[in-house]
Symmetry: C2
Subunit: 373 residues, 2 copies
């Protein structure tokens, strides 16, 4: 039975709390699960041009079988969709469908669609119901959980948005079979991240079982569920990101700098790949600062190599930034204050911490060595 | 001493609670009041082209004296500014000023600026600090209190926004001296509304003292403070407008229909004028339904006439809608469900209640009589 293999993760946020369901065949059960929690609603489904032909008919059929009338809103795929222009388009179409505050906006797509649709749901009529049906691995383990939504502006990524918790997250692990290998792998970097932050046993599990995670066996459901649990715990401790939630940025300071340095050109580097390199660098830098053993850095690097993720800056195709330029991008990032940088560093596998006083000079020498070698 | 005449109204919303200060000379004290509550912040001031020449220099000087660097963002005046285009402009300029989540957006203007700036503050970096410096009477007694923010779309007014409570409201009653007589009078309709909803003594106070409210004597501060107290109490009971807050819509169902019927042409009818006519109609209709005495309706009408506000549909210049068309606009309003309309009706002065089952047919006959006579 499909239902037997469904895992449920609870996000403990009091009256804003919700369930994440992870397993096979959840798309077909979406209508029933939503109707059980939000009786009598009508729906708008926000999705993108890659996901729509593959999964939209099944989702609509499932909603209609549960008596939920649904209006699809299909947007272009890709990061550029996270803009004011498409936010306005989504908002206008939700309003044109005459949905009320008690109705529901469903995001069916990757993190781009989830972030945009969640933002729209948060502002139409000052807040509608919102349900996430994440279809990329990254969205299932990261962006669909925790309520951060938003769009990009000329001033930077994700600078505009709201906290809008979903009422339900439905992570159908089968829909990942239509995801490209590269996107799957990029999402996997965030899965490994949870192990590295504070779950050493989970990291060891991934070292043993990553092939089955990629192939779609029981380890896939287990790994996604454990990732959701990890994220849900951090979110429950720090819903509005004023403290602990920063741990989730492991690998992201270096990663964002690399994304910026490659001009956000997805053909060269996608987000998860930047995170993979960033995590390797964070471990190597921690070893160099005598915080952790170099063996741990080597173990992280070996795992990234095994799954086929890049792990050093030179793995990025095309012309590479030098150490000075990379540090410039890091310093532009928000995590800077008076010459000292905030980084997520580690004392070993699964022992990360927030380091608020990392001297920029140390980072620069490290990057020089790393890029030279 | 100016400070002696400042009244403080507390909005009891727990950790989102805040003070409303009402009195003379508050613009000059703005910097000190903000710095005391938000030490170390930088500011963006959103304002409009009417308010900027009159009051912006004083506000900036006051902030600078308190060590708060401020970037002004001056937008066109008028309802059209409450749009996606100007929201994006405000957001971009706040980001261009490099403000962080802990910095503050200050709205210095009428309800248009307050609604737009509050929305911007609610979404830049997923929520910045927000302070209201309302400069119209309507904004001081209504829109700046309660945290509703938003913009208009082609589908209707205020359909997109967030709940974003300010950290402080500074209502300087002197800035109202530069407001046009007509705008002041329109705002006064909302002041009278609080008396009619549930404060019969306040309504009687206004009958005796309205001249001093208009002229700027002590009764002005008292009337604005009492209005803020009235609104703050309703908001504290029902922050997210799921129940009681609907009482604040007294006069607004008829009023909105009249605004729509006159094509939102401010030269014919501004919001507060529509509310004035709407309140008179609500009282007259309540009398017709044998809920209240006709004497109460007459008393409301007499007060509106005294202050120079319109009180019947025929007071609107230009071609008038007939009863059927008005009912059509009312039915388009969100407060409709299956032939029955939701209205705020009354059992007498200060005895309003939410009537959820008003037959559309009764409203139609009432409007026919009213427009015929
Ligand atoms: N809100 C958060 O907390 C959070 C956290 C992390 C990342 N993000 C955001 O998430 C975004 C990245 O998410 P993403 O990697 O999912 O990007 P994405 O949404 O662009 O999806 C990646 C690609 O995969 C396609 N796709 C998705 N599901 C598919 C499927 N089942 N079959 C075939 N193709 C499919 C998409 O069309 C797209 O081309 C970024 O904008 C990032 O800022 C948000
Ligand atoms: N958020 C809420 O809870 C709420 C409640 C009621 C109304 N509103 C909104 O408020 C808006 C109406 O507010 P409003 O009547 O203040 O409109 P407004 O902001 O357009 O101001 C009216 C006019 O007065 C001018 N003005 C303002 N202060 C002035 C001053 N001190 N001196 C000279 N001119 C001045 C403005 O430039 C404008 O031309 C509407 O958009 C309405 O939807 C919101
Ligand atoms: Zn990430
Ligand atoms: Zn009003």
């Amino acid at each position: 039975m499909a239902a037997e293999r469904t895992e449920t993760v609870k996000v403990a946020l009091g009256e804003r709390g919700y369930d994440i369901l992870i397993g096979h065949g959840l798309l077909a059960r979406a209508g029933a699960e939503i109707a059980a929690r939000l009786p009598g609603v009508r729906a708008a489904i926000v999705t993108d041009e890659n996901v729509a032909p593959r999964h939209l008919p099944a989702l609509i059929a499932s909603l209609e079988a549960a008596g939920i009338a649904a209006t699809p809103i299909v947007l272009p795929a890709g990061e550029k969709t996270k803009s004011f222009a498409f936010l306005q388009e989504a908002v206008d179409k939700i309003l044109a469908a005459r949905l009320e505050r008690g109705d529901v906006v469903i995001a069916a797509g990757g993190g781009v669609i989830g972030d945009l649709a969640g933002f729209a749901a948060g502002i139409v009529r000052r807040g509608m119901n919102f349900v996430q049906v994440p279809t990329s691995l990254l969205a299932q383990v990261d962006s669909s959980v925790g309520g951060k939504t938003g769009i990009n502006t000329a001033h930077g990524k994700n600078l505009v948005g709201v906290f809008q918790q979903p009422r339900l997250v439905l992570a159908d692990t089968d829909v990942l079979d239509t995801l490209s290998e590269r996107e799957f792998r990029a999402g996997y970097a965030e899965v490994a991240k949870y192990g590295l932050i504070d779950r050493p046993e989970f990291f060891a599990f991934l070292e043993r079982n990553w092939r089955e995670v990629f192939a779609g066996g029981p380890a896939r459901v287990a790994a996604i569920a454990e990732s959701c649990r990890a994220k849900a715990e951090v979110v429950a401790r720090d819903e509005f990101e004023t403290g602990d939630r920063a741990l989730l940025n492991l690998g992201h300071t270096f990663g964002h700098a690399l994304e910026a340095a490659t001009g956000y050109d997805g053909s060269r580097l996608v987000h998860g790949e930047g995170v993979a390199i960033g995590m390797a660098l964070a471990h190597r830098f921690s070893a160099r600062m005598n915080l952790a053993s170099p063996d741990d850095a080597a173990r992280v690097e070996a795992h990234l190599v095994a799954v086929g993720l890049p792990w050093r800056v030179s793995d990025i195709p095309g012309e590479l930034p030098d150490a000075e330029r990379l540090l410039g991008y890091i310093a532009q990032d928000k995590k800077v204050s008076r010459g000292a940088l905030t980084f997520i560093l580690t004392r070993g596998i699964g022992r990360c911490f927030i380091a608020r006083d990392v001297p920029a000079s140390e980072v620069l020498s490290f990057l020089r060595e790393h890029l030279g070698g």
